[in-house]
Structures are given as structure tokens and as C-alpha cells.
């Protein structure tokens, strides 16, 4: 049993990760011996068709699901053996989330949602963190929305709030799960540009799960999954190149 130390320059990685559902007889393999790393300060897209295992990969890397075998590291921490409470604290302090929908707690106002990760920790943001949050709020144009409830905001605005919340604690890694899945194309572009800016200007590591070539074209690097395996690792590409690649992949099968 060897557990190699985390490679430098990687904020998270998985080694020989396998995930199976169901019992013997009707076993479904969602992830089949996947090894990959997410680089620090980069905006990485994880792509693949439905059922490719991309969401399962994200859930395990984010400490929301368990692996059948293999290991996952977040920074120096091996997370596949952590208990529920340790994983919860890890998600709270070291990971940020942006989901496709239902990102915000409906009973809290916008400010309450943004500060929720701090509140869960039983603390207030420090002066430095407060300044960072204020900067995020004003650059995303949410300053006059702080007292509103989520349902009073448009889908794009709600997603921007989720991004502020995800960035507020300066987590090691932000996971975005189809962040533009519910948005119109103009709003989608805004949200994607925002994520790209967070990576390039603030050095925030981001992993985005998507099946949309346009969304993936905003990323610095694109990992392709198919049938639970990593099939390709591309640098920044245009939407049309990504589309072509996906079509070829489909045809090759």
C-alpha cells in the first residue's frame, strides 16, 4: 500500500479512483480507475456526455461521496478515509460550491447566504476577508441586493451570489457543477467570464463540470471523461474545436 505524496502544483488529484453502484449482479461502474490532477490557479473543465462519471468524480473530489477504491487528495489531505464530520469541515473551509440550481438558502437574504460559510464556523469574517467580500459584491454589482431574498433575484443574479459565496472563504478549490445549465446564453457568458477572471486575477483554482462546449471554452484546460475513464486532456480550446473533438469521440465508439 503506497500512498505517493501529492505532486507539486496540483491543488487536488485522484489516484486509481473507482466508484461502483449497486450490488453484484447489476453493478454499475461510474468511475473506472481514474487518475488525474487539478492544477493550482487554473480553471479546469471536466467534460463528458451524460453518464460519463463527471459528476461522480466531482462529488468524490469535493468530499460529498465515497469512493469504492482508490484515493483522492485535496492539497496534502487524503480525503477518502475521512469521517463525516471531517469531510463537512473540509467542505466548509477548503472547498467552494456553485451548483446548477438551488444554490441559495431560500430563508436567508443575500448577505446571509454569502456569509453562511463563516457563520457555520461560528465566526465573523476578518477585516481582510470582509474587504475581499465587499470587493466581490461590488464588482459583481450585488451591492443593492444584500437585503433581498433569493427568489427576488434573477437566475443570473442568484448564480453570481453563489459565486461570491464560493470565493468568499478563498477556498483551495471551487467546484462548479453545470453552473450555466439553467441560464440564458448572455447570462451564461457573464458567469463563465466571472469564473475565468477569478482564476486568472485572483489565482483561484476552479474545477467545472459541464457538457457544454461553449462553457468549456472558457477554461484553461479540458479533461474528457467517457464511460468512467479519462480519455483526453486538452489545453485551452475554442468551442468549435471542443465540439469537433466530442463528435469524433462519439464516432469512434
Amino acid at each position: 500500500m503506497t500512498t505517493p505524496p501529492p505532486a507539486s502544483g496540483l491543488v487536488a488529484r485522484v489516484e486509481g479512483l473507482t466508484k461502483q453502484y449497486g450490488s453484484t449482479g447489476n453493478r454499475v461502474t461510474a468511475l473506472d480507475d481514474v487518475s488525474l490532477g487539478i492544477r493550482t490557479g487554473e480553471f479546469t473543465a471536466i467534460m463528458g456526455p451524460s453518464g460519463s462519471g463527471k459528476s461522480t468524480l466531482m462529488h468524490i473530489m469535493a468530499g460529498m461521496d465515497s469512493a469504492t477504491s482508490g484515493s483522492a487528495w485535496l492539497g496534502e489531505t487524503e480525503i477518502t478515509h475521512l469521517g463525516d464530520t471531517e469531510l463537512t469541515l473540509l467542505r466548509r473551509r477548503r472547498v467552494g460550491f456553485v451548483f446548477q440550481s438551488f444554490n441559495l438558502v431560500p430563508t436567508l437574504d443575500i448577505e446571509g447566504n454569502i456569509l453562511l460559510p463563516f457563520e457555520l464556523d461560528g465566526r465573523r469574517p476578518s477585516a481582510e476577508e470582509r474587504a475581499w467580500i465587499d470587493q466581490l459584491i461590488s464588482s459583481l454589482g450585488l451591492g443593492d441586493r444584500l437585503r433581498h431574498r433569493p427568489h427576488e433575484l434573477s437566475g443570473g443574479q442568484q448564480q453570481r451570489v453563489a459565486i461570491v459565496r464560493a470565493l468568499a472563504t478563498r477556498p483551495d478549490l471551487v467546484f462548479a457543477d453545470e453552473p450555466t445549465g439553467n441560464l440564458d446564453s448572455r447570462t451564461s457568458r457573464e458567469v463563465l467570464a466571472l469564473l475565468a477572471t477569478a482564476a486568472h486575477e485572483y489565482g483561484q483554482s476552479i474545477a467545472m463540470v459541464t457538457h457544454d462546449p461553449i462553457a468549456a471554452s472558457y477554461a484553461d484546460r479540458i479533461l474528457f471523461l467517457a464511460d468512467g475513464r479519462l480519455v483526453s486532456d486538452l489545453p485551452r480550446s475554442s468551442a468549435s474545436d471542443i465540439s469537433r473533438f466530442m463528435l469524433e469521440m462519439e464516432a469512434a465508439q
Partner: protein
């Protein structure tokens, strides 16, 4: 097909329990009084047994009506909550062509089934309980050993009342079916629409008028009571009016009290969310808690009135230790009997509260998943639900204690004000053991109500909760 497949015993368990409890209560009370009347007739010295049993029956029906009413409020509330959880299924059926009226009729049919099954079960239970109680009473020599009947036809009345009121409650509770749009099935509207305490001017106006006028009449009754005990008759009218106003306007009274109580739990994330959750559906929280308020108010009212009466009598016969002991003894027994009888409504309301909290947690699965993903520990989820539970219970019990003390005092004052000469003001006497029991029961209810939902909530996996879009 859909009708049968949607009838889930789990969903209706609480309505069944409430219905069975109400029916068992009615049947037991009637049969017990019947047994008492039988024993009185067998030993009728004064010839007044008919009058006494008539009076007892009237009192029994007052309490049965209260229990049926509280049961109906609880059931209507439960059905409204169940409908809220079924929004998407109903919307889907609407989408493929079912009419809202058909949908609502199906829900009401479920209510009728629950009502009939519950009241029959409760009736059988009631007969069993009475037979057991009378058996004990005969054995210990409290009642003479003669033939008692447990199959009196009058017991069909409370059973029928319970079944019909459950049917009616399910009809009222399923009102929201009519507002479900087929669009809700497309997933665009996943969250339940927030049923806000709509500003229904007519209802609010009636509630406030009844309450204010009722309090006025009640105080007038207290005033008249300084001269003659007949003041209590005026007072009863005022009490009934003001309490009806309060029940009608529960959606105006309960939310602010819930908020105040919630503030007392501090500003941590779990308690702040708990406050918001309890206030999310003000209508629902009001309906959930008003049953408990009614129960606690009744228990407290009789307790305080009897205790005040006892103190008056004791101060009148202070010098005679024999009388003194007799009064103490008989009053404590009377307080205990009334507490049990009135406490039954509180018990029914408590079942409703437990169920409501469970269902509301069940319906919040996605939100709990989000919170878990963002770093809510299992412990924090548990304390949030405990705080929600505590908020509902503490608010209801507090209001009930205050109202009950006031009504009880007003009752005792209007009867006794003129007793020791003219114009004595009696301070309200607090039956301390009763209050302690109520507070203990409230604590038990708080914890009991939060157990099942907490277990369910901490089992929510963030992945499963966020997976279905």
C-alpha cells in the same frame, strides 16, 4: 389506480392517530359518564340523579366538541402540508389532463377513509378503556358492582362527528390543490410557493373585533362579578368571543411570538435558520401551534380557576383544620380530573405538531443537502431542528399559560368577587404543580418532536439531495 397508489399510510399515520384519539376520547367520556349515571340511579337517594347525569352529559359534550375541533384543525393542517409535498405529482396529473376539482375530490376521499378507519379504531379503543377503568373502579369499590353497558348507541355520535370532521378538514386542507399550476411539473417551480399570511382584511377585521369586544365583555363580567356571581355568565360569553377571535387571527399573533422566542436561542447559524424556517410558512406555523395553544389554555384556565376558588374557600375556613384538609383533597382531585380531560386536546395538538415538523423536514431535503454540502455538520442540522421544535412548543405553551391564567382568573373573579361581602379582588392563584407538569411536558414534546426529523435530516446525503434537477 392513482387514487390507491397515492394513499400512503405513512403520510396519513398522524391523521389516523389524531382521529382515533378524538374518537376514543369521546367514546370513553360518554361511556364513563353513562357508567357513573348507572351507579347513581342504582343508589338514588335524593332523586336528583337524572339532573346530575344530564349535567355531566352536557359537560362531556363541551369537551368532546373541543377535542373534535382541535383534531379538525390539526388534520386540516396535516392535509395542507401533505398537499404542499405533493405539488409536483399533482401538477403532473394536471399536465396530462386531470382537473383540479378531481384532484381535490381524491384528497378528500382519502380524508374520509382516514376519518372512518380512525373513528372506528378509536371507538373500539374507547370501549376497551372504559371497560378497564370501570373494572378497576368496581374492584377498588369506587363504583358498585352492577351491570354496566358499553354498547350505548350514543357513542356513535362522537364517532360520526370525528369521521365527518376529518372529512371536512381534509377538504379544507386540500384547498391548495386548486392553486397548483401544471407548470409546476416542468421543474421550473421546484420550490413550494411561499404561502404567506395573505392580508385577508375581512378575516383580520373579524378576528380583531371579536377579540377586543370579547375582552371588553369579559372584563364587564368581572366587574358584574363584584356584585353578583351571575357575572360569570357574561364572562363566559366574553371569553368565548375573545378566544374565537384569537384562533381566527392566529396568523397575526403567532409569527411575532415565534420570532421573539426564536431570538432567545441566540444568533448562531443553526438557530437563525431555525427561526426563519418556523416563520417560512406563517399560516402553517400558526395552524400547527394554535391547537397546542388551545389545549394549554384550557388546562391552565381550569387549573387557575379551581386553584383560586380553593384559596378563597381555604381562607374562609382557615380556623377549621378538618374542613381545610377536605377542601385541599377534593380540589386537588378535581384539578387532576380536569387536567386529564382538557389535556387531551393538547395531546391531539402535540401529535399534529410532531407530524408537521417531520413533514416539513421531509419536504426540505434539497435545502438540507445544500446546507450539508456547504459545511453544516450533522450536529448543526440536529440543533437546527431541535431549535425549530423548541420554538414552536415554547411559543405555544407561553401563550397558553398567559391566556389560561387570565381566563382562569377572570372566571374565578367573576364567580367569587361577591362572595366575601361586596367587591373583593381575588389575585390569580397559580397551581404550581400543574405549571411544572406543563413545562415538563413541553420540554418532552420539544425533544420528542425533533427526534425522527433529525434522524431523517442527518441521513440526507448532499449528493442525493442535489442530484435531481
Amino acid at each position: 389506480m392513482t387514487r390507491r397508489s397515492r394513499f400512503s399510510p405513512r403520510e396519513h399515520a398522524s391523521s389516523l392517530i389524531v382521529t382515533a384519539l378524538s374518537s376514543a376520547f369521546g367514546v370513553t367520556l360518554l361511556l364513563a359518564i353513562d357508567a357513573l349515571a348507572t351507579s347513581l340511579r342504582a343508589d338514588d337517594v335524593t332523586g336528583s340523579s337524572e339532573t346530575v347525569s344530564y349535567l355531566l352529559a352536557v359537560i362531556a359534550w363541551v369537551f368532546i366538541s373541543i377535542a373534535v375541533y382541535v383534531g379538525a384543525v390539526v388534520t386540516a393542517n396535516t392535509f395542507a402540508t401533505i398537499i404542499a409535498g405533493r405539488t409536483r405529482t399533482i401538477a403532473l396529473l394536471r399536465l396530462i389532463g386531470s382537473s383540479a376539482a378531481t384532484q381535490r375530490r381524491q384528497v378528500a376521499r382519502e380524508g374520509l377513509v382516514v376519518g372512518v378507519i380512525g373513528s372506528v379504531l378509536g371507538g373500539a379503543l374507547g370501549m376497551g378503556i372504559t371497560a378497564g377503568l370501570v373494572g378497576i373502579a368496581v374492584f377498588t369499590g369506587v363504583l358498585p358492582d352492577i351491570a354496566y353497558s358499553y354498547l350505548d348507541p350514543t357513542i356513535l355520535l362522537p364517532m360520526l362527528a370525528v369521521a365527518l370532521s376529518t372529512w371536512l378538514a381534509s377538504w379544507i386542507g386540500s384547498r391548495r390543490v386548486l392553486t397548483v399550476s401544471p407548470m409546476a411539473a416542468t421543474g421550473a417551480a421546484q420550490e413550494l410557493t411561499i404561502e404567506q399570511a395573505r392580508s385577508r382584511r375581512g378575516r383580520n377585521g373579524t378576528a380583531i373585533t371579536l377579540f377586543v369586544a370579547g375582552i371588553g365583555i369579559l372584563l364587564a363580567g368581572v366587574g358584574i362579578g363584584l356584585v353578583t356571581p351571575l357575572g360569570v355568565l357574561v364572562g363566559i360569553v366574553g371569553g368565548l368571543l375573545s378566544f374565537t377571535g384569537l384562533v381566527l387571527g392566529a396568523h397575526l399573533v403567532m409569527p411575532p411570538v415565534l420570532m421573539l422566542v426564536g431570538r432567545a436561542f441566540g444568533g448562531s447559524a443553526p438557530s437563525r435558520l431555525a427561526v426563519e424556517n418556523a416563520l417560512r410558512y406563517p399560516e402553517r406555523s400558526s395552524r400547527t401551534t394554535i391547537g397546542l395553544v388551545i389545549g394549554v389554555t384550557l388546562v391552565t384556565m381550569f387549573g387557575v380557576a379551581l386553584e383560586s376558588y380553593k384559596h378563597m374557600l381555604i381562607s374562609a375556613v382557615q380556623d377549621d383544620p378538618v374542613y381545610y384538609a377536605g377542601i385541599e383533597q377534593s380540589f386537588n382531585t378535581t384539578i387532576a380530573v380536569f387536567t386529564v380531560i382538557t389535556g387531551f386536546s393538547a395531546l391531539i395538538a402535540a401529535v399534529g405538531m410532531v407530524n408537521n415538523l417531520s413533514l416539513s423536514v421531509l419536504q426540505r431535503t434539497r435545502e438540507l443537502g445544500l446546507l450539508r454540502a456547504l459545511g453544516f455538520t450533522a450536529h448543526q442540522v440536529r440543533s437546527m431542528i431541535l431549535a425549530e421544535s423548541a420554538q414552536l412548543t415554547v411559543a405555544s405553551v407561553l401563550i397558553g399559560l398567559v391566556l389560561g391564567t387570565f381566563y382562569g382568573w377572570a372566571g374565578a373573579q367573576s364567580i367569587l368577587g361577591s362572595m366575601n361581602g361586596i367587591g373583593t379582588l381575588v389575585p390569580p392563584s397559580i397551581p404550581l404543580p400543574l405549571f411544572l407538569v406543563l413545562i415538563g411536558a413541553a420540554a418532552a414534546l420539544t425533544i420528542g418532536a425533533s427526534l425522527a426529523p433529525s434522524r431523517r435530516a442527518t441521513r440526507v446525503s448532499p449528493v442525493a439531495a442535489l442530484a435531481f434537477d
